[in-house]
Every structure is written in C-alpha cells, then in structure tokens.
Symmetry: D2
C-alpha cells in the first residue's frame, strides 16, 4: 500500500539542490515538497509521479509559524500514519550583498528569517515525527539535514546578512545533533562551497570543466548521510568542486 511507504520532506524546492534531493529520496520514499511558490514544486511533483514515485507539494513560507503549522497539518492528513524517514531543510533565503551601512533592517533580517527562524520552525515540526520513526525500527536512522554554505564558517565584508543566518543555522544544527543524536536522530550540517550547476548559473564560466557542483551529487551525499547507521553519524561535511578555492 503506497500510503504505508515512509515519507521524506524537503523544504526549499527550487531548480537546484532541493529538486535533486527530492528526486533522489523519491526513489525510496514518498516525498513532500515545500516551497513558497507552487511554480517551484508543481513540475517536480508531476515528474516524480510520472516516474512512478509519490509526491505532494505544499505552499509554505518556512519563516512563518502559521504557514509551517498549516503545512504539516496538511502533510499529516495526506500521509496518514506513514512515518517520516528524512527531512531536508534547503531554504536559502534572499542573498543580500551590499555595504553594511546600506543594509535595511529587513535586508539584514533576511538571512536570519530563512536560516535561523525558518530552520527552527521546520525543525520543531519534523523532530516529533522523526522521534516517532525511531520507535518504528526504520531501515535507516531518521535524518534531518541542513543545506548550509561556506558563509557558515566565515563572515565576509558586505555579507553580514547571509553570514549571520548561516552561522545561526550551524549553531542550530550542532545543538540539535547534540540533543537528538542520542535519541537516534541523525542531524547533519552540509557546507556547500561553490557554484551550483543550474540554469541560472549556466553563464558562469570557469577555466576548468566540472567547476560547478552538480546538484545530483549533493543529493547523493545527502542520501549517503541518511543511510549511515547510528554507530557512525557524520554531523558535518563540506562539499565542493575539485577546483574550488577555499
């Protein structure tokens, strides 16, 4: 019965990492795709269903508690008693690069909204479901992965909005790993360092081939993280193209 298949939920489904992660997890699980704009998940839902998978899309603003609450109520209805196997938080938010004194408060807060508050609200929604899954002896430990960036490790001139958000995301991921790891949940912080190879970046030219990160490869890494047994959790890893300076 397909309604019994476990679920994975992916928040932040756009043209790049989110979509690839959704496709990868849809090979094994039903997938719920969250994005603010239905245009971001609708084609993917069709694609996954056409390939024999199961997918639903839910319009969600992860930085808004009501929206998240409503999304998960809908999700619970649609998934029935099926367990949640994995949750991936891939919401990047607006990237603002400008001189510090030119930032509006709203622009500065954008980094936090997506990477701090949004990650918090998503985590509070999925962790009780993942805890339930621990008790049902799943094949793989229930998993919560955050898509992060080099900006989680280093603040840069003109990038305080994004850096404060990503530092906060890393703090949240570490806090959750330390609190929920011993309860059997695998929490990982993935530092993606480089340009993702998507339509929007196709004009970024590099001297070397394969200089952009393939989102399919990120998805494979996330799947690998999900399959690690509880004796061997990776809580943080970096991912970058071979030619990336770091």
């Amino acid at each position: 019965m397909s309604s019994q298949k476990a679920w994975a939920v992916v928040a932040g489904v756009g043209p790049g990492t989110g979509a690839s992660v959704a496709r990868r997890f849809a090979q094994t699980y039903s997938v719920a795709l969250l994005a603010r704009n239905p245009a971001n998940y609708e084609p993917l839902v069709k694609e996954i269903e056409a390939a024999g998978g199961k997918a639903i899309g839910i319009s969600t603003d992860c930085s808004d508690s009501k929206s998240v609450k409503s999304a998960f109520e809908q999700l619970k209805k649609e998934t029935g008693g099926a367990s949640l196997a994995a949750a991936i938080y891939n919401v990047g938010g607006r990237f603002v690069r400008k001189p510090f004194l030119d930032l509006s408060e709203e622009e500065f807060e954008a980094g936090w909204e997506a990477n701090g508050r949004g990650a918090f609200l998503f985590s509070q929604a999925v962790l009780p479901l993942l805890l339930n899954t621990v008790n049902s002896s799943p094949e793989y430990p229930p998993t919560l992965i955050f898509t992060s960036a080099t900006a989680a490790m280093k603040g840069s001139a003109n990038c305080s909005s994004f850096a404060t958000g990503k530092f906060a995301m890393r703090a949240l991921a570490q806090s959750l790993a330390r609190e929920f790891g011993p309860k059997g949940i695998h929490v990982s912080h993935a530092i993606i360092d480089g340009v993702i190879d998507i339509e929007r970046t196709k004009d970024y030219k590099f001297d070397h081939p394969d200089a952009k990160i393939k989102p399919e490869a990120i998805a494979d890494s996330y799947w690998y993280l999900h399959t690690q047994p509880r004796t061997c959790f990776t809580n943080e890893l970096d991912i970058r193209p071979y030619v990336e300076k770091w």
Copy 2:
C-alpha cells in the same frame, strides 16, 4: 572643555561586565550608557560623575530600531560635536536553556534579538560616528567590541536560542572587521568563557579561588584592545579564568 572630550558608548550596562567597562572607559572618555531599564545605569551615572567623570544614561531597547534611533539622536544632542572613540556592545539578552521541543518561537528568537538584530542596529548607529572619528586623528583607532561567549563557537543541547544568537554575533563581528578594518576601525569579538564574578553569582562555589572572571579584568582587556594601533589589531580573543574547562 569637557564637552570636547571624546565619547564611548556602552550598550548593555548591568551589574557586571557593562558597568566595569563603563568605569574603565570613563577614566579617559565621557561615557554614554544604554540599558532598557534606567535602574541599570542610574547608579553608575552617579558613581562616574561623583568620581569626576562624565556619564549619561539613555533607556534603550537595542533590538528595536526606533528605540536605537531615538537613543542616538539624544546622544548626538548631548555630546555635541564630540567624537565617538569606542562602542561596546554588551547586550546579552535572555538566556533560555530548555529542551528544543519545549521552546516557544519567542524564546528561540530571544537569542537573535539581542545578539543578532540588536548588534546590527547598534553597529549601524555607531559605525558612521566611528568613521568620522577616523578622520579626526584620534589617539587610538576607533573601536567596536562585541561581548560574546563560548556559545559562539559551539552549539549545545538545550541551548539553541543562545547559540544561534552568539554564532550570529560572531558572523557579524567578522563581517564588520573585514569591511571596516581597512577603513581604520578596530572590530573585536571577545569570547568570554566562564562565570562572571557578580552579586548574582556569589553563591556559585568552586574548588579553586579566583574561579570566576572579574569584570574589571574584562574591562582592562577591552581597554587594551582599544589601545592597539592599527598595525596590530586583535579581532578575536578568548577570556577565561585559569581553572575553566574548555
């Protein structure tokens, strides 16, 4: 003329670090003390004035843009054309330690409000003034110091609110150091690691003497940072009692 003496502004003046920093900087500068509650700065203003210094207190909620704006308008009126020599952001905010799933959104946001948004609003208010000071050939490079904590380096179970806030503060400090350092402003992130020796902690007992950090010693460290010449800026340092585990 005392109105010509340069100013230092200290945000977050309570019984510990903030008051000691204010006293230390008041030996050289006029000081402006910001705190939400006048009870936190009034005795200190009196004490500094009684000792021959100059101090004003301004009720300010640093996480509220209107309050910060109003505080700095008042400050500019009271300080006339005097330059700003140093700004210390010492607002800690509410420390919430509880299981992640018991956190309200408001509790989670508390860390960000004080350490992210508040630090942003304060920085946007003081940096233009500090930039002006650069041009006036001050004795010491204009300085912006953030009081941070070990939670800026490591997320812990049950502490995601404070850790996300302090990680964000560190990201902001690094971003500002990289943007404003080359303009001549000294930005520092001070990682205070240990129990501060104040009235509230007097019942915390340790096996060793001097196991708590003296706030006067933190103030000396901040003053030292302020006096470093621009050939030799320390952008991050840790401060802990000799017996602290870390």
Copy 3:
C-alpha cells in the same frame, strides 16, 4: 586479467578500521596492505584471497623513508602497470597519555612520527601514482584519505603527543587537498570520534547499545568518499556514534 585491476593501498592495517577498509575496497580493487608487523596483514590477505579478491601484504614502517621507498618498489613490481585508485593512510601510532613533564622526547615525537612524517612519506609515495591515474579516466577520482581523530581539532591536557600529530595530519590533508584537488585528486580528512568496536575494546561498556563505531561503517564512509565525483568532493567529515559527547 586480474593484473589489470586497479589497486588500493591501505597503510596501517590492524584489527579495526584498516582491516575493514581493506575488505571494502577489495570488493572492487586489488589491495596492498601495509603494516609493520606481518601478523597484522597476513590473516587479512588470506581472508581476502579466499573470498576471491586479490591482496598482498608488505611489511612497512611508514615513518621510515627507506622502508616506505622499498615498500612501493615492491608494490610497483607486484602490481605491474595497474593503476592506483585509492590510498588510505590509517596509521595511528602510539597513543601516549601522561603529564607533559613526564613525557620523554621519544614519547612526544611518537605522535608526529606516525601522523606527520609517516603521512608525508606515504603521501609522497602515492600522489605520483594517483596523478597517473587521473590521466587514465578512472571510474572514480583517485582518492587519498587520512584517518584522523577529534584530537586533530582540540588539544587536551596530557595528550600533547597525539594532538600535535593529529593537528599536523589535518594541516597536511588541507594542504594536499588545496594543491592536488585542482589536479583531480580527492583528498579527505576523516575525523573519527569515538571508541572503535574491536576485540580490544569489547570490555568498554556503555549505557546505550551501538555506542561504539563499527569499523565496517567507517569503511563504507571511506568508500562513499571515494565514489564522489569531482564536482562534489568532501574534504573533511566527522564520524561518531549517535551517543558520543562532542
């Protein structure tokens, strides 16, 4: 022709991680097993050959340049023109925990010998071979993995020998990743954090099941690293049991 199968070389084959890594890579490659003491590789060579794989053992002291040179001369003879697909440096060296002032110079140097000099000599031996492999269009990018530890991130009381060695190993891994990554070689530093589940540790009791790291799971992680495409290299990851404090 089996002589055409690519090789993997594993230095530091003992009862735990090294043996598991060897078994894992032997599913795809011929394997060369280096250890000082033949007793450490002989049973494993037999086991792998009995399972239909190909393995050779070579007595090697990786901290001695002559021994390493001689081992790789022998290796080249035995592998003929076969390419080197992966090299894993798993030599831990002697772990000395004692008060700093009680350390002999020899004891202090033990950490460096295994983790610094040994890693250097091994890297200089394998990197030219791995560079050759890049040109032969291998299925997976040629890979060099260092087995490291939490001591690479943090020095502790009474552990300066091990910590200096592991810090040095991390520096080497980062330097090589930055130099040889752009040439197509995948260099990874794996921070193993926890007690490995082997015969020697079977009496270590924990409150939770699965509290020790299964070496097979480490081997899977290493294999996964090896299979990452060059658009998506992980240069550092941590690996620890779900209940580990960190």
Copy 4:
C-alpha cells in the same frame, strides 16, 4: 640587588618580533635571549645593557635536546635563585614554500623541528621554572607565549611544512593551557597574521600606510597577555594589520 630581579626568556631572537619582545620585557625583567647564532642576540644584549637593563645571550638550537638542556643549565647558573616570570617561544624555523612532490624529507621536517619539537623542548625546560614561580606570589601569573601564524589555522597549497609545524604548535599550546592553566600558568597562542615590519621586508610595498605589523606592537600585546590576572586569561588571540585580508 639585580640578581634578584625575575627573568624572562625569549627563544628566537632575530631582528623582528623576538627583539621587540625582549626589549619590552627587559623594561621589567632581566632577559635571557636564545638564538642559534650569537650575531642575533649580541647587539641586543648590548643595547639592553646600555639602556640600564640586564640581558644575557645563549647560543641555543631549540630543536636539539642537548642544546636546550645546556642552555638552561647555563641560564640557571647565571640567574641564581631568581624566578622565571615569562617565557616566549618565538622560533619560526625555515619557511619552505614549494610543490609538495619537490619537498625533501628534511625540508618537510623543518616545520616540525622548529614549531613542534623545539616548542616541546623549550616548554619542558621552562614549565618547571614557571611552576616554581607560581609559588612565589609573583605580580603577574607566570606566562608562556607561543608566536604562531595564520598557517596554524589553515593548510595551503605548497605550504605543508610550515602548516604542519604551526598546527602542531597550536595543539601543543592548547594542551599546555589546559594542563597548566589550572596550576596558575598562563599559556597563550598568538596568531600573527601579516608581514612584520623589519629590514628584510622594507621593500614589500602596500597601497596603504601601516600595512605591516610593527614588532613593537606585538611586544606590547605579549606584555599585556603577561599582565592579565588569573581570573582572565586569554589563551588565543590574533594580531594583524588593519588592512590584512583574512
């Protein structure tokens, strides 16, 4: 009686940081200057004595245990019962920058010899003396400072020798801070990031004034570290010119 004045010992006295540190500490203490080549300390000894201070120079190869032992025997004779107030390890060693595969074993080991083994031998020599000083109620906590570099934080292409050495030095400093801090000794790791302003670098041109670190300013920072009370130890700080990229 000058023989009763406490001592500071500075290892690695050349034209830059070491000499400035020696001058600074000579304002308060008698100083012992260690360098391999007498030409490096002789003029400084004269200068300090001419200024009314007390200084001795001892030819020492800090990476050689016999040489270190002999130096400290001579030192004890010359200082009589005077206590050791501070020890600064400022030996940089040879900086080798070349492609990894071109490094000789000797070149690779150079980083370790100066920054690992040398720091170890020096630490074993001074720590018993500093422990004695703790008992004599000195004005400032006895202090051990290591001069380090950005290479202690990040390995770079072509720089594995220096990076492995400086990472090892940082591990040693952390281990010693954690072991000897609770015994009352202040151990600090100073990350010097930038070009030092000395004769050898006078032709390095920068777009900005004051773009090189003044060694006198480093010396002031070291002195400040030394004066911190035990309630407030800084165990790590960075020091860089305001225009440095980091």
